[in-house]
Symmetry: C2
Subunit: 179 residues, 2 copies
């Protein structure tokens, strides 16, 4: 059996980046495909010289909860590439910067209905170089936690974002800590 | 500083499960919050007695790619709980079943704008007990791969779904394979 793609017959937007594709399936059926046209995202595992992870606590309206997260965000027109977006988000959200940032993973947050990728980065020897530079709609608290504590949190589903658990996995793979 | 939640002033739907919440932020600003009301999801790391992972290859229209994935899907009205949904999805998508299914993780796919959780399960000694039972809109090929190969794929971003990388992480944590 060979899996075939769907054929887009027509597309229209129902809201900013929400697209409905009228698609013909390989079996001839026609359905409406729901697509979220997002820009690519970045997430950063930023480690200080003291082996502490730089985290942010913020309110997330989908879950309606205040959550502790790795910094990161969507690429925008200012960013030439994912690395630059990761540096910018780290600096804006936390005031931390690093001269040693490495891409450790690149996957899809949800290939079923999102167009974008999420790039994971590891930032070593991160240092506080400024205050935060938040948008008017952002409110975040910077929190440092020991790396081993954050890994334990990830193991116990206490790092609440699936995409951030995968970023921790990529960091552990980079460090060859997966047996 | 204490991070405060947003206050919902009014809500309306612009498409099936797409909600717009007019929200008041802690700083007094008013913005439109974009929320996807999804049911909870499950994903299953199903291992045969030969230590092979049961995967499915399918077309994903968001990414417009044919992708190799762990089985899983959304809970529906037939499911009493996430475990039952995981069993059902595994059976429908692959024809495999297991008497030994363990929940290994529960996080949010995207707390920024999704309401749902994703439950990860480990299914041991999975056996083929039937054919697939796919919806009319589904077309999937069952593929078995050695566990160690799948872990290597995850490390190299070849397991393309972020939520599935986190499921592999939870399985490795369960097995105490993270140093």
């Amino acid at each position: 059996m060979t899996i075939k793609p769907w054929k887009i017959l027509e597309s229209h937007f129902i809201h900013k980046n929400v697209r409905i594709d009228k698609c013909e399936l390989p079996n001839g059926m026609t359905i409406d495909g729901f697509v979220l046209e997002y820009g690519d995202w970045t997430t950063v595992v930023a480690l200080t010289k003291q082996q502490e992870v730089v985290l942010v606590r913020q309110y997330r309206h989908g879950a309606q909860k205040v959550i502790l997260e790795l910094p990161g965000g969507a690429m925008d027109a200012r960013d030439e590439n994912p690395l630059q977006a990761a540096r910018r988000e780290l600096l804006e959200e936390t005031g931390y910067a690093s001269d040693n940032i490495i891409q450790i993973g690149c996957v899809s947050p949800n290939p079923a209905n999102q167009t974008n990728l999420i790039y994971s980065f590891l930032a070593l020897d991160a240092e506080k170089v400024s205050g935060q530079a938040l948008d008017d709609t952002e409110d975040m608290e910077v929190v440092l936690k020991p790396l081993e504590k954050v890994i334990t949190m990830a193991k116990n589903s206490e790092l609440f974002q699936s995409m951030q658990v995968s970023a921790i996995f990529f960091a552990l793979a980079y460090w060859d800590r997966i047996q």
